[in-house]
């Protein structure tokens, strides 16, 4: 006798389709930063808990004095993670190109596959950290000509997102809200427009929401409106419990992707009952 009731374990998790990005496929759609952690040990555990395969780093001057401190690279398994160097702190295309080349040089020394790509940031000002779209386009063109795969951080403005794609970017990464602000996806219509315009006739073009995430639900929102991935740092690094938050981000990313693939119901003004009216023994007003 068979029964519709079952206590067998659920089937393998569906909807975990890989992310195709920069000529490779990734099983995790979450990219995490390595900045702002209280300790390298916590960072290491948080990276592990996040499930991320790609981690971002910055390029900075060697400290010539007091240099006995430990180095980030002692705490990142470069065989496990693909490193995505950024050009954070650059306010001109010229500087972003220099920093990208320096980052590539180090990753080549480390034999890390991240040597082929860069997260381009050309910022407008230190207070808002909003991107300079003109400088971003210039830097993207120059770096693409130099053989880089460019993942470009930009605002959620759909028009500049398209221009950056046209400049040759491998992925456009609109911000949900300002870097480190924790405001989540402030204008989901703009992200939706970015997705529509960037993927027009090119459905596989990867669009990653980069910056602004404050909590796990922000990641889910970005993923369930159709982003291909999310890049975040501060929301984990500065959480009270970064390792727990990293777990939450991993689940939120998967949940958001599954929700997107599953297809949500339309929003309605009025309620629709989940239990049938037929057979109700109660007095129903108006009937």
């Amino acid at each position: 006798m068979t029964s519709a009731k079952t206590s067998s374990p659920p089937a393998a998790e569906p909807g975990l389709d890989p992310l195709a990005l920069a000529g490779r496929t990734w099983s995790s759609r979450l990219i995490v930063g390595t900045g702002k952690y209280e300790s390298y040990e916590t960072m290491q555990q948080a990276l592990d808990a996040s499930g991320a395969e790609v981690v971002t780093v910055a390029v900075r001057r060697e400290r010539l004095i007091n240099k006995e401190g430990r180095s980030l690279l002692e705490f990142i398994d470069t065989d496990r993670y693909t490193i995505l160097p950024n050009t954070a702190g650059c306010f001109s295309a010229e500087d972003a190109v220099r920093v990208a080349r320096l980052g590539r040089e180090i990753l080549e020394q480390l034999n890390n596959p991240g040597a082929g790509w860069v997260k381009v940031e050309v910022l407008h000002d230190k207070k808002t950290l909003l991107p300079d779209p003109v400088g971003t386009i210039e830097a993207t063109k120059e770096l693409v000509a130099d053989g880089f795969k460019v993942l470009a951080y930009t605002s959620d403005d759909p028009a500049s997102a398209v221009k950056i794609k046209e400049a040759g970017a491998t992925s456009v990464m609109p911000a949900g809200s300002p870097i480190g602000s924790g405001q989540g996806v402030l204008n989901r219509n703009n992200i939706l427009l970015c997705l529509e315009l960037l993927k027009e006739g090119d459905a596989a073009y990867p669009v990653i929401v980069d910056a602004g995430v404050g909590s796990a639900s922000d990641v889910s929102v970005a993923m369930e409106i159709g982003a291909d991935g999310v890049l975040l740092n501060t929301a984990v690094a500065h959480a009270k419990d970064p390792v727990m938050m990293a777990h939450a981000m991993r689940h939120a990313c998967i949940a958001g992707r599954q929700s997107y693939l599953a297809g949500r119901i339309p929003k309605r003004l009025y309620a629709t009952a989940s239990s049938p009216w037929e057979g109700a023994i109660s007095y129903i007003p108006g009937e």
């Binding site: 930063g33 900045g35 390029v59 001057r61 010539l64 980030l72 690279l73 480390l110």
Partner: protein
């Protein structure tokens, strides 16, 4: 040997004339570590460090990877 004045990561330094980029990196205790170098805003790949002699007024940047988002 006469000395020349250069800047390294924004700080003035004096080094012997004929010092190569590789020798400077060694002297600063950075040899054997992942480190990228620029002279006058142009990247000098690691394979060229031993042959690149520094000149008066050169501006050298030596960088590494740090935590970032």
């Amino acid at each position: 040997m006469p000395e020349i004045r250069i800047t390294v990561n924004g700080e003035p330094q004096e080094v012997e004339q004929g010092t190569t980029l590789a020798a400077l990196i060694e002297r600063l205790g950075l040899a054997g570590q992942p480190c990228a170098a620029e002279v006058n805003k142009a990247l000098v790949p690691k394979r060229d460090h031993p042959s690149r002699e520094l000149a008066e007024g050169d501006s050298v940047e030596l960088v590494t990877l740090v935590g970032g988002g």
